[in-house]
Amino acid sequence: MLGEKRLKLRAAFFDSVRLFFKNKGFLEVDTPVRQPVVIPEANIVPIEADGEYLQASPELCMKRLLARGLTNIFQICPCFRKNEIGTLHMEEFRMLEWYRRGARYHALMDDCEQLLRAVDKDLTATGIGCGPGGDNFFAETDLDMPFLRITVAQAFDAYSRVPLEQAVREGSFDEVLVEDVEPKLGGGRPVFLYDYPVELGSLARRKDEEPHLVERFELYINGIELANGFTELTDEREQRTRFHDEIEAIKQGRNVTTALPERFLQDLEHLDSAAGIALGLDRLLMVAVNGRGLKEVVPFTPQDLT
């Protein structure tokens, strides 16, 4: 359980994030946590709740709101992913998602840079501090310089033992990313890793000039992944095809039949273009206070409850 100082710091952190988006004209929304259908994703196992599911992300509802005409929206909400337990994972965590209608993914990277600087400034202003060295948030990270932006292909060329195409073909992309590439990302300065192979972005839009890639990016600090954003795929028919691929993969892997999110697909027809991003708030706070695990920043860990 967190002590009072950390609880105050956490509250100030949430205030800071909210203020940042409100100042930018974003509308805060809150959508249902429990839903009858989930996004079909091969690698995310939903937690069941009385015949329905706890959301793994508010993505479906938020994109439906965009399709109904909203422009810039954000949400802070609990998300749930089964069996994701570790120093940097909890089955329940707090997610920040924001969406910009009419925007592409680079606009979201700009938002990230500004958000982190605002959080750093606001936390410092609390006077609470985060360690024996004083009020030094993001102690090992220079937030003033523009964040680095490198493509997945460049990162694999620089750090990986196998070329990107080979890793994707052999199905070892995740292992190579985790073992070779991620540890090299975001030391001293945050990094955006961008332009993923299309196999790794089932809701992201293809690049016009390189259709084997999607306009997706991740933000890293100290080798820790903090956010995943992309230009949204708004072609309802292509989205349907990609969902079918995911549903097939889920059936192969877990022997579970997953329903298509039909209401989402219907609304997607009315969405022209948008970009959206999900950022793990517990992780961002952990990195801000130079912590080593989520338990240093969450009010209760699962162990505190049993």
Partner: protein, 187 residues
């Protein structure tokens, strides 16, 4: 059989006929990617290290170990001696074999000694042990460092982080699975 989701620090597995203990465990999952279970393991007989990354579909065999209830007697030259209280048979384990478990051993403590093919290789401790604090800095009131913890040393020489109100002479409960402070124990 065990699944990847059962993997955690301290779990004992049988790999190619030898018992291994997981000494370091990290769950990782690159965004939208698959779950990966990165394990650092120690061969419980040879002491050799092994690092492996597993996926969620991988299956594991639990190490087949025999357990015998024994009493911890004393430590001499890094040999930790135990006695079977039924037949007074004695044996010892080295500090290397005990790893972190040596941090929680106090005289006369009852433990389970683990045997692999009749060789003693490790002990199983109670999940919670109570140890006396032998060294603790006084709590500086008005400390604004933001730290909610401070370091102390307990009677076995082990150091850990505890809340600032813990003082020298206090007895504290420690979780032997994680090595972390649980609570202060009222005498």
């Amino acid at each position: 059989m065990l699944n990847a989701s059962d993997l955690r620090k301290g779990l004992k597995l049988q790999i190619d006929g030898a018992p291994y203990i997981i000494t370091d465990f990290e769950f990782s999952k690159p965004g939208k990617g698959q779950a990966l279970y990165r394990c650092k393991m120690r061969n419980m007989i040879s002491g050799n290290q092994l690092v492996k990354t597993y996926r969620s579909n991988d299956k594991f065999e639990k190490a087949e170990l025999e357990e015998r209830k024994m009493q911890y007697l004393y430590n001499q030259n890094n040999e930790y001696h135990f006695m079977d209280t039924d037949n007074y048979e004695q044996l010892f384990l080295t500090a290397e074999q005990l790893g972190d478990n040596k941090n929680y051993l106090i005289d006369n403590m009852e433990v389970e000694v683990l045997f692999f093919e009749s060789l003693p290789i490790d002990v199983t401790l109670p999940i919670f042990v109570n140890l006396s604090v032998t060294v603790a800095d006084p709590w500086a009131k008005g400390d604004t460092s933001g730290n909610d913890t401070k370091p102390v040393t307990v009677e076995t020489g082990y150091q850990l982080q505890v809340p600032p109100f813990v003082e020298e002479g206090d007895k504290i409960q420690i979780d032997t699975r994680t090595g972390e402070y649980v609570t202060r124990v009222k005498e």
